[in-house]
């Protein structure tokens, strides 16, 4: 009888429980922030991770912002304490509520190093630091300013390009071409701008240079589209600008990691991860925004008096 009991107990005890690939859930902070030299408002978004009963994360229907955290960014010019704010959500298909974030009013400068500290009431914290990339440049227009000022005369050139040295600590960059103009309305002159279509994706900074180009046809058609949009109004074209944003290496790493699924060369199917937070997830990145401008001459052919 004793042996039988032992055998039965052995048989039941030895059965494995169903496998779950889930380890113990630990509350972690998820922090996203990108300091930019291109704006006076800096944001930090602080969330917590979450778990669901099954395996469908979309069961989580509430955003998990961490409210009331102490968020401080310390730089060479002192510490900046962030305050709560609400931002409109661009996509409300999953979460309806506005985005809870932290904001502070300061503009970092290139080459400055900042330390981020997030401390929540429960005692958990996340820290990181980042150094803003150096300014890019100097830049030069290719083939030259003559093409910007008189694009339709020099028919042998098909592209307008600009190039300069990349700033230190730059992982990748992206850019825009903008045409700034003033249009005369009933109440006076009003400033406006239009984008010239160009490369939208951040580019690898492999060669230590940043640069951009746009098709001359797009440049001309952008000028003409302004004239058409404001038909009958006087227009003065003021500037043609190359606006370049240099990502620091942390943001660059994160950017590429998130887009691993867009890696057309890979044979791997794993789930990559990257964070530069000392604990938790997310990224503390930075960028430098530089503007290289060419002022149109008063005699610019596309001006309409």
């Amino acid at each position: 009888m004793r042996i039988t009991s032992f055998v039965i107990a052995f048989l039941f005890l030895s059965c494995n429980p169903p496998l779950t690939p889930k380890g113990p859930f630990e509350q972690q902070l998820v922090v996203y922030s990108v300091l930019s030299t291109g704006t006076n408002l800096q944001y930090v978004r602080v969330y917590s991770n979450y778990d669901v009963s099954g395996y469908n994360p979309f069961e989580n229907i509430l955003d998990r912002p961490v409210i009331g955290a102490r968020v401080v960014v310390t730089g060479p010019r002192g510490s900046f304490i962030f305050r709560d704010t609400l931002l409109p959500r661009a996509d409300t298909s999953r979460y309806k509520a506005p985005i809870a974030a932290y904001v502070a009013n300061f503009r970092p400068d290139a080459d400055e190093t900042f330390a981020l500290e997030v401390i929540v009431g429960s005692g958990s914290s996340a820290r990181s630091s980042v150094t803003i990339p150096s300014h890019a440049g100097p830049f030069t227009w290719e083939p030259g300013l003559f093409l910007l000022n008189d694009p339709e005369t020099y028919k042998i050139y098909s592209t307008i390009s600009v190039a300069g040295r990349a700033g230190q600590r730059t992982g990748a960059y992206t850019y825009q071409f903008l045409i700034t103009f003033e249009v005369q309305t009933g109440s006076g002159w009003k400033a406006d701008s239009v984008l010239v279509p160009a490369s939208p994706l951040p580019l690898n900074n492999s060669f230590g240079y940043v640069g951009g180009y746009c098709n001359k046809t797009y440049y001309v058609s952008s000028l003409k589209s302004v004239l058409n949009t404001f038909a009958g109004n006087a227009i003065t074209f003021k500037r043609f600008s190359f606006r370049v944003l240099q990502m620091d290496q942390n943001w660059c790493n994160y950017y590429n990691m998130v887009r691993r699924a867009e890696d057309t060369l890979t044979t791997r199917t794993d789930l990559p991860d990257f964070t530069n937070m000392t604990s938790g997830y997310g990224v503390f990145g930075s960028c430098t925004v530089d503007l290289f401008t060419h002022a149109y001459p008063d005699t610019f052919a596309y001006n309409r008096r």
């Binding site: 494995n16 496998l19 661009a90």
Partner: protein, 752 residues
């Protein structure tokens, strides 16, 4: 410079071989073949002894033996091997006149004690080579397996060999990865030696003459893998009459026919087909997704004088086909991709004594392996296709220099092509195709000096050297030294270097996978390399108990691992890492009352170093236990009970979710207002462990003879206590598929 060095090295190898084979004869050679008296089948590993002397030899894989330089005189000579009655004859040796003495041995009933306790110690291979086992069908019959005996079920009894997810070509040997094992059938490389769900191997025991397994420090002649070698030799068809064998069980049906053709020729055809679907459909009205078939055929010619030619062919097919919206009794119902595996292989072998003392074996082989993952309506996975075609020639010469010394020289030149097509995670089709020359040359010397046995040689991975994938380290020395101790105990030490050019790709972070794609190691990466060091002792504790203990250390100088620092598409997917594994194994065999006991235990650790990151690989298993008890309480009734345990493999646990922002182009889309997408947060890499794998199997078999038919009636229960052993797990969906659970089955087998 490199080419000149390589050329000199090869010239040296040939010179050494020539010198070694140049023997001076003082007496005369006694040589011959040992065969089955009934079937004519050549018998390998038989011991031939000149009684009253210390001279003797073992037959090689072709059943040939030679005792060189026997002094003139009259001798009694005996031949014996497990499973056969010993036979004694007389020879008269005259100077300079070689004597041919052939033996026809009559089979005797299997004595399990003989098999379990002393079987391995009798084999020549065990005398000089460490970590080696030879299994014969008689031994496989003692291992309970689902429905019918199976080679790999028996091999898993060997300490250091573990397997859980065996539907892919995965078994793990001493901390080695699943793709580091070489499986050969008559010289043909088999890339996926399992049938679906891992219940059966491709090799029906009824076609097998013997299986030779090396779990480490294998000798020259075997290359291209880092961990282990399983070499299956098929048997010949019967030469005395046409015979047949048919069996039906719940899961498969089989028909085997064999017999003589014209004089000196025999043939055999063996076909198996799954009955999974029919059984489950009729018995429990459920669908099971796995099915398979295999056909093996062999034709051989024995020429006058002992030469022999064999032609063998294997065709096998496996499917895992998930019908949509179907509930399975043993499988969860998630829509998973269908998978198909096909193997076609053929070989031709010629063996004969060339000259007086050189035995030649030449093989031509061809293998075509295909694996397909068909997504169809599945919500997970991407389409994939993998194909390996390989043909080549393998030549082995054995020179019998004197009574105690053997020299082996051989080469193997193959021409594999590997194709891999995949739709990757971004939906982009990727394809790679590599066709290359592979080759190896080896020289091996076996000698005995008093109490010392030495087995030393060099295996040159010629293909990788010529392709400049490695330098002179492609000349791989391998040595085993055995010291005879008092009372039959033996102490062994062994070391060797190994390399591997083909690997399988799978997701390192997946919990379990069942589709592995073979590829050649990507250009720019080092081929995989390892060194083995083994120390062992074995002997008899008493008349009824033998024990073998071995410890090992394996250093992986180069392993292909994930590039954890990959951030850009242009970064390589894989980089070269390192690793090591070490452990100790014990094997005890004993006879206790009517019980034959077999117990093995393996304790091991494996670590991988990936550019400063150190972790347990997915195949790290800490403990493995195998217990087998068999009994023959009455004549013709065999009972056996087997329990297998393996501690859980590591995996990377999911530790929750978080929403990832894409943080795209801030010049056009403000990052502050973006909504993230959920992402699975992973814990420490391989920091968690799967549940332990364990299973208890029971089998009973009764042999009978009715109306001239021999037969057996058997019953088996697999997984007696219905343990849940996970077969596959999808991290994203939570869908799991289990290995077979409690499963009773029956078998009827008839022979004529």
């Amino acid at each position: 410079m490199m080419r000149a060095t390589t050329s000199r090295a090869i010239s040296l190898l040939f010179l050494l071989a020539a010198l070694a084979t140049h023997a001076r004869s003082q007496g005369a050679d006694v040589r011959g073949w040992v065969s089955d008296s009934l079937t004519g089948q050549r018998i390998p590993f038989a011991n031939v002894l000149l009684l009253g002397t210390t001279r003797g030899a073992a037959t090689n894989g072709s059943g040939f033996y030679m005792i060189p330089r026997v002094p003139p005189g009259r001798y009694e000579i005996s031949a014996s091997v497990i499973g056969y009655r010993r036979k004694v004859g007389h020879v008269v040796v005259e100077p300079g006149k070689p004597i041919e003495m052939n033996f026809l041995l009559a089979a005797s009933p299997v004595e399990s004690e003989e098999v379990l306790v002393t079987g391995v110690r009798r084999r020549e291979i065990g005398e000089r080579v460490i970590s080696a086992q030879v299994l014969e069908p008689k031994e496989m019959k003692l291992t309970p397996a689902l429905v019918q005996e199976d080679i790999f079920q028996s091999l898993k009894m060997i300490p250091g060999v573990v397997s859980t997810n065996d539907v892919s070509s995965r078994f793990y040997v001493r901390g080695g990865a699943g793709d580091q094992n070489l499986t050969l059938l008559d010289g043909m490389r088999i890339y996926n030696p399992f049938h679906a769900m891992g219940i059966f191997s491709l090799f029906d025991p009824d076609i097998v003459q013997n299986v030779e397994m090396h779990t480490g420090a294998f000798p020259p002649g075997y290359g291209g893998v880092l961990s282990s070698v399983v070499s299956v030799t098929s048997r010949d068809g019967r030469s005395d009459r046409i015979a047949g064998r048919a069996s039906v069980n719940f899961l498969s049906e089989k028909l085997q026919l064999e017999g003589p053709a014209v004089a000196g020729t025999t043939w055999m055809v063996n076909a198996r087909k799954t009955l999974f679907g029919e059984t489950f459909k009729r018995v429990v009205n459920k669908n099971v997704p796995a099915s398979f078939f295999d056909v093996f055929s062999k034709f051989n010619v024995q020429l006058p004088g002992g030469a022999k030619m064999d032609l063998g062919m294997l065709v096998s097919s496996d499917e895992i086909h998930f019908p949509p919206a179907t509930r399975f009794i043993y499988f969860s119902p998630p829509p998973e991709p269908d998978c198909f595996w096909r193997t076609s292989a053929a070989s031709g072998t010629f063996s004969d004594l060339v000259g007086n003392r050189v035995f030649l074996q030449t093989s031509f082989y061809f293998t075509d392996y295909r694996a397909t993952r068909d997504v169809k309506s599945a919500t997970t996975g991407t389409p994939a296709f993998n194909r390996i075609k390989e043909h080549g020639i393998r030549v082995l010469t054995t020179s019998y220099t004197d009574a105690q010394n053997l020299v082996y020289f051989g080469f193997d030149f193959g021409f594999p092509s590997v194709e891999y097509r995949l739709t990757n995670t971004s939906g982009k089709p990727i394809s790679s195709y590599k066709s290359y020359a592979d080759g190896s040359i080896w020289l091996r010397y076996q000698a005995r000096y008093s109490l010392w046995n030495v087995d030393a040689g060099i295996h040159a991975d010629f293909g990788s050297i010529v392709a400049r994938e490695q330098g002179l380290e492609g000349l791989q020395p391998r040595v085993t030294v055995t010291r005879d101790l008092p009372e039959g105990w033996k102490l062994r030490a062994s070391a060797g270097l190994f390399s591997q050019r083909m690997i399988t790709l799978n997701d390192e972070d997946d919990v379990l996978t069942y589709f592995d794609a073979w590829v050649k190691i990507p250009d720019g990466l080092s081929i995989e390399k390892a060194g083995h060091f083994v120390l062992g002792v074995e002997g008899g504790l008493d008349e009824a108990t033998s024990i073998r203990v071995e410890s090992y250390y394996k250093r992986y100088a180069a392993l292909t691992v994930y590039n954890r620092n990959k951030l850009f598409a242009s970064d390589p997917d894989y980089v070269t890492g390192t690793g090591n594994s070490y452990g100790v194994e014990a094997l005890v065999r004993s006879k206790l009352w009517i019980l034959d006991l077999y117990a093995s235990y393996a304790l091991g650790w494996t670590r991988v170093q990936n550019r400063g990151f150190d972790y347990y690989p997915r195949y790290d298993r800490r403990h493995a236990i195998n217990l087998l008890v068999s009994a023959q309480p009455v004549n013709d009734l065999d009972l056996s009970l087997r329990w297998e345990f393996g501690s859980g493999f590591p995996f990377t646990a999911s530790v929750g979710y978080y929403d990832r922002l894409r943080l795209g182009n801030p010049l056009t889309n403000p990052v502050e207002t973006e909504t993230g997408l959920p992402y699975i947060a992973l814990g420490e890499k391989n920091g968690s462990r799967l549940p332990p794998y364990h299973r208890l199997d029971f089998s009973a078999s009764f042999r009978f003879t009715v109306l001239g038919f021999k037969g057996s009636l058997g019953g088996q229960i697999m997984n007696v206590y219905d343990n849940i052993n996970v077969f596959y797990f999808n991290r994203k969906t939570g869908a799991s598929t289990n290995m077979l659970r409690f499963f009773p089955s029956a078998l009827v087998k008839l022979e004529y």
